[in-house]
């Protein structure tokens, strides 16, 4: 009763109207800003497509880089990227998932494990160029692996390892304790539990994390520049010790040139890169969607 009396007072109603007006403005403002931000990014995509689409043909995919824009292509860069990602997957996935399993399933929750987790979160925030320096010092010079695919792959693996570990830990955490308890009750060892119950249950989450980590690795340029992949390479690598170039490096190379045609070539290469990333992200989103559905 008192409330309604107060609300009918003109002063209260005026300030109420003002507050509602403010709220409306604010809502509009937020919506506006969001669409503005999205618009800017859509401009980016438009720019890329309008510049690069016309250069995108089979020759572009099948040719090697050339000093003539009409003849230039991304064959060596694409091959290098595929090689890199495969090697990175081989190194990073087992180590990352194993680390996550150890932390979540096997280690006791003491100070040491806390430090390990803190350490991993910090590693995730280290700039990629620092990883590049480590790669240069340890792999290229220290282990004399030269500027080869394996140096690049090892460096990138270190880079995305924290990402995989964190994602896997999150995935493993979502597996209900009941599954583990049931397995233990039946006399299974810890590893048997993990291998036959926890891992399969957390697999979608791990897969999503792995795919996102790998898509990050595909786009990284700075560490590869440090390793020294900025060279003219006109062949497809045949083994892990070969020199290489990669898509982001080729893009950087072409963008750096002053001639307009090379910028357009760069745009075409970006289209290829984004397509690959889009495919990978779609798979990750699809898997996560499926998984969320299953949990419901």
């Amino acid at each position: 009763m008192p409330l309604s009396i107060e609300l009918s007072k003109p002063k209260q109603r005026e300030s109420l109207n003002k507050r509602h007006f403010k709220a409306k403005i604010f809502a509009r403002f937020c919506a506006c800003v969001t669409w503005m931000g999205t618009a800017l990014l859509l401009i980016l995509l438009y720019q890329i497509f309008s510049d690069g689409l016309s250069w995108l043909d089979w020759d572009f995919l099948n040719n090697f880089p050339s000093r003539f824009p009409e003849r230039a292509g991304i064959k060596s860069a694409l091959a290098g990227t595929i090689w890199l990602i495969s090697l990175v997957a081989v190194f990073a996935i087992p180590v990352g998932v194993a680390t996550a399993i150890y932390i979540e399933e096997f280690s006791k929750k003491n100070l040491l494990s806390r430090i390990i987790e803190l350490n991993i979160s910090n590693l995730a925030g280290v700039p990629s160029i620092v990883y590049g320096i480590i790669g240069l010092t340890i792999f290229v010079r220290g282990l004399s692996l030269e500027r080869s695919l394996i140096s690049g792959a090892l460096t990138m693996s270190l880079l995305i390892l924290p990402v995989i570990i964190i994602a896997s830990i999150e995935a493993i955490k979502t597996v209900p304790i009941s599954i583990r308890s049931a397995a233990f009750a039946l006399g299974a060892t810890r590893w048997q539990t993990v291998w036959s119950h926890v891992l399969p249950a957390s697999f979608p989450g791990i897969l999503t994390g792995v795919i996102l980590a790998l898509s990050r690795a595909i786009g990284e340029t700075a560490p590869l520049l440090m390793i020294g992949a900025l060279t003219y390479v006109a062949f497809v690598p045949e083994g892990p010790m070969d020199s290489f170039t990669a898509l982001p490096i080729q893009i950087f190379n072409w963008v750096s040139r002053p001639q307009e045609e090379f910028h357009q070539l760069a745009a075409a290469a970006i289209i290829v890169l984004l397509t690959v990333l889009l495919a990978m992200n779609s798979v990750a989103i699809f898997v996560r969607h499926k998984m969320e559905k299953k949990l419901q």
């Binding site: 507050r19 709220a23 604010f26 809502a27 937020c30 919506a31 800003v33 969001t34 999205t38 800017l40 980016l44 720019q47 510049d51 087992p94 194993a98 680390t99 150890y102 096997f106 280690s107 390990i116 350490n119 991993i120 979160s121 910090n122 590693l123 995730a124 925030g125 280290v126 700039p127 990629s128 160029i129 620092v130 590049g132 320096i133 480590i134 010092t137 340890i138 270190l158 924290p162 060892t189 590893w191 996102l212 898509s215 786009g219 990284e220 340029t221 700075a222 020294g228 900025l230 982001p248 963008v255 750096s256 910028h263 760069a266 970006i270 984004l274 990333l277 889009l278 992200n281 989103i285």
Partner: protein
């Protein structure tokens, strides 16, 4: 009848007996790799930086205003590089934090489920676009566009670098803040509405404060990412260490300098080479500090709702 007993026996004897500890150690070894990584990073950076500081006084490095490591006479004051990183990061934060937060608020408080289902994946996708693409964007769109507004703009300039890095971390702030705000239980909102608050008041006085730890953590993460950003600034901002209050001229960030040194392939050993490690060491310490702060904020100010 026989199955349980037999089953148990096979576990306690036989292959499982030695396999289990072996796997345990194998997994432990893998975990060790992450520790070794950090140790290696710290060791390599520290060792070379130590060598560097034998030659160059730390006071000259940290307080000197002229960065000329390659020429004679040389000068090793890191402030121009630090300043370059700072203005790019500051400009990027100025752009990305308001827009990112507003977008997050829109997504979590105002957007319909349909719109959210479109925008959120779009933002996540955009967060995954490689930085070299943003470098391309800077050169082909942002710098020419800015030149219309600022005719005095040089081809390589700090403003383009700041804008492009801002655009780059924007999706990150938006998605992470949105996650934080979405995690605030609805009961808090309903309670506030029930007390007669408008949506603006609910957002500003209830939801954002409740999700503040996650929101602030996302800001700091984004800033940390902006500081460590290399490719976009190398392409857009230039390679001239410059300690002046200017947005329109070419500058050099710490990351761009590191790339420059490694591309010119300065010989291993020698003070010029060690500058790479000293600068990288500084960069590492800065981002590490920021990351620790963001984690601390996340822990300390996280509101528990159960």
């Amino acid at each position: 009848m026989t199955t349980p007993a037999v089953h148990l026996k096979s576990i306690s004897k036989g292959r499982v007996r030695w396999l289990e500890p072996l796997i345990h150690s194998g997994l432990g070894f893998c975990t060790l790799i992450s520790i070794i990584t950090t140790a290696t990073i710290v060791f390599v950076l520290a060792k070379e930086s130590f060598g560097f500081f034998q030659e160059i006084a730390p006071s000259e490095f940290f307080f000197g205003t002229s960065w000329v490591p390659m020429f004679k006479p040389s000068s090793f004051g890191v402030l121009p590089l630090l300043w370059g990183t700072l203005i790019v990061t500051f400009g990027a934060a100025l752009i990305s934090i308001p827009i990112g937060l507003a977008s997050a608020i829109y997504l979590s408080e105002y957007a319909s489920a349909g719109k959210r289902a479109v925008i959120k994946p779009l933002l996540e996708l955009l967060a995954g676009i490689p930085t070299v693409v943003y470098g391309y964007f800077a050169l082909t769109f942002i710098t020419p566009a800015l030149k219309v507004v600022f005719p005095d703009l040089q081809v390589f300039n700090a403003l383009s670098g700041a804008v492009v890095v801002g655009v780059m971390v924007l999706p990150m702030i938006a998605t992470l803040s949105d996650n934080a705000l979405k995690a605030v239980p609805d009961s808090l909102r309903q309670g506030a509405y029930a007390l007669g608050a408008t949506s603006y008041e609910v957002t500003s006085q209830v939801v954002v404060p409740a999700g503040l730890s996650g929101v602030m953590a996302s800001f700091i993460l984004a800033i940390s990412r902006a500081i460590g950003e290399t490719m976009a600034v190398t392409l857009a901002a230039g390679a001239t260490p410059n300690l002046s209050f200017t947005f329109l001229e070419s500058i050099q960030t710490m990351t761009a300098y590191i790339v420059q040194v490694s591309m010119g392939d300065t010989p291993a050993g020698g003070v010029a080479y060690q500058t790479m490690f000293a600068v990288a060491g500084l960069l590492f310490v800065i981002t590490l500090t920021l990351n620790i702060i963001s984690q601390w904020i996340l822990e300390r100010y996280r509101e528990v709702y159960q």
